[in-house]
Symmetry: C2
Subunit: 189 residues, 2 copies
């Protein structure tokens, strides 16, 4: 059931660093993005992968983690991602990506979750620094980073009250994510 | 397998109009969007649904269909969508939606496909006209329309050669979609 997979696909920010990923594992998930819809079928997205421990260490300091958790600077050693995907726009192929990026990322993450992994989309990225780590040409622009690994945290959904949508972590380190109720999402006449 | 579902989730533009959808069917798929990631968990997306035949008829003329098929003005009577979702940004909740829209739409379409339906994301929309049909307030902006129904066409993927990515229809009315090869999507050092 797609619902089960979507429920299991939470934004995981802490991982078991002992469980590694290979480029092949990740390319299989990127193939899911390849088979996903693209505006005007232009397919301007490209992907750069890091599964290398040294490279991951160079990427990590240039990412922002969980903006609402002010006392937390990101996953500690042993809980850091074992892989990253840089989601890129090929500027030679299109000016904008419309909503291709979200479509592709959701496909990738659902593939990862099905295989027992998980990840987090990161938008707070020092793009010029990360581009240097990947040695990207100027024609490729980083849109998002996806951090990946074997999840090592519990994430629970709850129903949001009013505009209280900030995620939070309880004393048992469970991460809580308030989701607006379905009735608020649907505009009825 | 998520791969099977993603493969089956093609952009369908012709439907069997005799197979109807209820608002409940569609709300179930929107719930999948509700459970999907949202940037900073802001959840600024809202959704308006039309399953009403008269309303669908008012929406249809304001949509652009398959830009590359110059001789085709969209699905004929009997093959038109039986439902639409207007994917909306609530301007009171966020300025931008980052890649929330693509994520949500992919979740919705995968839900639809699992239930034996399918759809097409439409970006060519006369937004002010469609907003009037839905009687939307100014605070809700239409981002995309999703056309939905029971698919009544065959869509086949093929591997693109060079930059030949325009989809095309053969003499048997099969819709062909060239996808760039995986090796082109992955940037290697």
């Amino acid at each position: 059931m797609i619902r089960d997979l979507i429920m299991k696909n939470r934004s995981y920010r802490r991982f078991d660093s002992t469980v590694k990923l290979s480029p092949n594992d990740i390319e299989k998930w990127i193939e899911l993005a390849r088979f996903s819809p693209s505006a005007r079928n232009l397919q301007p997205l490209k992907f750069a992968i890091s599964t290398d421990e040294e490279m991951n260490k160079l990427i990590f300091p240039h990412l922002g983690w969980a903006g609402y958790l002010k006392d937390w600077n990101g996953p500690a050693e042993g809980e850091q991602p074992v892989a990253y995907i840089a989601v890129l726009k090929d500027k030679l192929l299109a000016d904008g990506v419309h909503c291709d990026d979200g479509i592709a990322i959701q496909s990738i993450l659902l593939g990862a979750v099905e295989d027992g992994f998980g990840g987090c989309i990161i938008g707070t990225v020092n793009k010029s620094k990360v581009a240097k780590v990947f040695k990207l040409p100027d024609t490729l622009e980083i849109l998002w980073m996806i951090a990946l690994g074997k999840p090592a945290e519990k994430v629970e959904l709850e129903t949001a009250t009013g505009n209280e949508i900030k995620y939070w972590r309880d004393k048992n380190e469970v991460h809580h994510v308030p989701k607006r109720p379905l009735d608020e999402l649907i505009i009825r006449k």
